[in-house]
């Protein structure tokens, strides 16, 4: 059903190639696995909402939150999920910007993570509201002086930008599906936006992508910075810290890379992408993860040492609550999972292979969740004035929404994989046909110029 068998001007990109046909298989011939996965996940999510209906009916009393610990799982998961979102767009933008050629099979998955997880995480503060029916007051009576408003602004901007940033590079691939007559046809012809692969369109696309990737980086950095400001702008011990902004951003990128690795390894297995996602891709990302782990430890060390050394009584109570008190298992667990295990596994080439990377990444995802827990709860549980403190134990409702959130994440991927290719076909083909000579030329341009006798080859910047 090829509508266009027109000759492609110098580009071979838009038509579907034989060589990458297997990337379209999940879309064109979905197995029964999708239906089963979809049904199971839908049931889990439905179940979570059924449990959650208790909160809508009776109020936030059905959670485990209490008087000093007024924030719990919902806020922890909000920070956690939004943190994961930095996997995507930010990493993909940085890799694109730095012309890291190994990015090609990775960027799309990273960008999907961002969009899916932002939708989940961004919704969490609404779950946490005592009056979700009044959420629009944020717009009608919003105070821009409140850090919460900075969050709303920043996260909305990030969601918009990353959705567009996911969609725009998908257009040529959607056009391939349209031309191959994939169903539902209306969806693909609508989303392909009249893509014909002309040189002009190609140029516009590339321009759009380069604008977006530059734009998206400051937005992504701002997102987790202002999330940390929610805490840092209060006077509470353990929160009121100047390094919280960068600390959160580092943690976010750290957990994001780990989540990306888990997703890549899982999808590689399910969709047999071994030909595309090779050992080298994992190795490169794992090195990034290692760097982030060290960086994370550096921030954590600075943060806690500063608190400890000053030894203000209020600060110390929070410190020892984590160091040796009720939160010690979570605190030391966090250090194990975020620092010791990943550094041990990822430092050596022998263990820096897919099984090891998977273990380290899962560890980091859990460890970063613990980090969020360690930040949110202990500060609230140790108020300045003597208060009848209760231990915060999340209730069934909160656990249900946690499980529901993770199920939504998997469902997002299942749905995406059902309708769109998980790896950018045109970018892979561009890599094959254009990037190799381009990279050679680039490397040549770095080399010292030929001897002055003859004016030689031309560098083209960058």
């Amino acid at each position: 059903m090829n509508r266009r068998e027109v000759e492609q001007p110098d580009h071979v990109l838009p038509t579907a190639g034989r060589e990458d046909e297997e990337l379209l298989r999940a879309v064109e011939k979905p197995g029964g696995g999708f239906k089963v996965t979809f049904t199971l996940l839908a049931l889990v999510i439905l179940g979570a909402w059924v449990v959650f209906s208790r909160q809508i009916l009776f109020g936030l009393g059905v959670t485990g939150l209490n008087q000093p610990v007024a924030w719990g799982f919902y806020i922890v998961n909000f920070v956690f999920f939004i943190g994961i979102s930095h996997a995507g767009t930010l990493i993909s933008a940085i890799l694109r910007l730095s012309k890291a050629e190994w990015r090609r099979p990775i960027t799309r998955m990273a960008e999907i993570i961002t969009v899916v997880v932002l939708a989940i995480g961004g919704f969490h503060p609404v779950l946490d509201l005592g009056r979700p029916d009044r959420v629009l007051n944020i717009y009608t009576a919003g105070r821009l002086q409140s850090p919460l408003l900075w969050d709303v602004t920043s996260i909305s901007a990030y969601f918009m930008a990353s959705t567009v940033y996911l969609y725009v590079p998908m257009i040529p691939d959607i056009a391939i599906l349209r031309d191959r007559g994939a169903r539902p046809q209306w969806l693909y012809s609508f989303l392909a936006w009249g893509w014909e692969g002309t040189p002009r369109q190609q140029a516009v696309l590339e321009r759009a992508i380069s604008i977006l990737m530059v734009l998206v980086i400051p937005i992504a950095v701002s997102v987790h910075t202002v999330i940390s400001y929610i805490f840092a702008m209060t006077l509470q011990p353990g929160w009121h810290s100047t390094i919280f902004g960068p600390y959160f951003v580092v943690g976010a990128i750290f957990s994001g890379i780990a989540a990306l690795l888990v997703v890549m390894i899982t999808l590689r297995k399910i969709f047999h992408l071994e030909r595309y996602l090779k050992e080298v891709h994992f190795s490169h990302l794992a090195k990034l993860l290692l760097i982030m782990s060290l960086l994370w430890f550096y921030f954590t060390f600075s943060e806690y040492l500063t608190g400890y050394f000053g030894s203000e009584p209020t600060e110390m109570r929070v410190f020892f609550y984590k160091f040796s008190g009720p939160y010690a298992p979570y605190f030391w667990g966090m250090l194990m999972l975020n620092f010791m295990i990943p550094v041990l596994i990822l430092s050596f080439r022998r263990t820096r292979r897919i099984p090891g990377i998977l273990i380290a990444s899962i560890g980091v995802v859990i460890g970063m969740w613990l980090e969020r827990l360690n930040i949110v709860v202990p500060s609230l549980a140790n108020p300045r004035l003597p208060y009848p403190t209760g231990f915060y134990v999340p209730s069934l409702v909160e656990w249900a929404m946690f499980v529901g959130g993770i199920a939504t994440f998997v469902l997002g991927f299942a749905l995406f994989a059902r309708f769109f290719p998980l790896i950018s076909i045109w970018e892979i083909r561009e890599g094959r046909h254009l990037a190799v000579p381009e990279t050679v030329a680039r490397i040549e341009s770095y080399l010292p110029d030929a001897a002055p006798a003859r004016a030689g080859t031309e560098p083209e910047g960058g």
Binding site: N137, R143, P147, T234, L235, P388
Partner: protein, 229 residues
Amino acid sequence: MMARWGMVIDLDRCTGCGECMAACHQENNLATAGPEETVQRSRAFHWLRLMPEFSGRYPEVKLRFLPQPCFHCDNPPCVRVCPVQATYLSEEGIVGQIYARCIGCRYCMAGCPYNAKVFNWYEPKRPRGVERGANPNVSLRPKGVVEKCTFCHHRIMRAREEARAAGRPLRDGEVSTACAESCPAQAIVFGDLDQPGSRVSQLARSPRAFRLHEDLGTRPKVTYLAEKG
């Protein structure tokens, strides 16, 4: 002339009887949380609580209670963080809460260094019959909003109306909060801090006067008087 309402609590007089707490509950139509909520789930529900203060070591332990209402800070951290301006500092220095606008995010509770605010975890419950005897001057709160001490701001309004009707200025001692009025030891004094002759402003200048965590720059308007000797 605008008043600047404040309170002095003399710890030398306070016996820790808890009458102020009870009076506050009744005056302001506070919901009853019940023992399970209060003790097991740590959701005590008071606008004015008795803060326990331990000193000494076993067996020479001394336990005292500090009555602690909202301090109505002149630089209130809760007001700064509210996303919808549901909590505000009035011209007369009272930190108020707009129940009809509050979205229940509890950011103000997380931001308050004194934990002065409480949240309606459920639809507020009152023992049977109490509803009918509720104070008509204080609105009932719905579930899911934050609420707090108002310095009995309805009483201030009433007193001001009465004074205006009589064509005279508001006199010192004419307005009192429920906690101050009910205190059998007369440990709590309420009044205008900006009126130089008022009892509260004089007591607030006492050498025994201190405020809790003044170092945070919150400028609380509730002053404690330390015990003598």
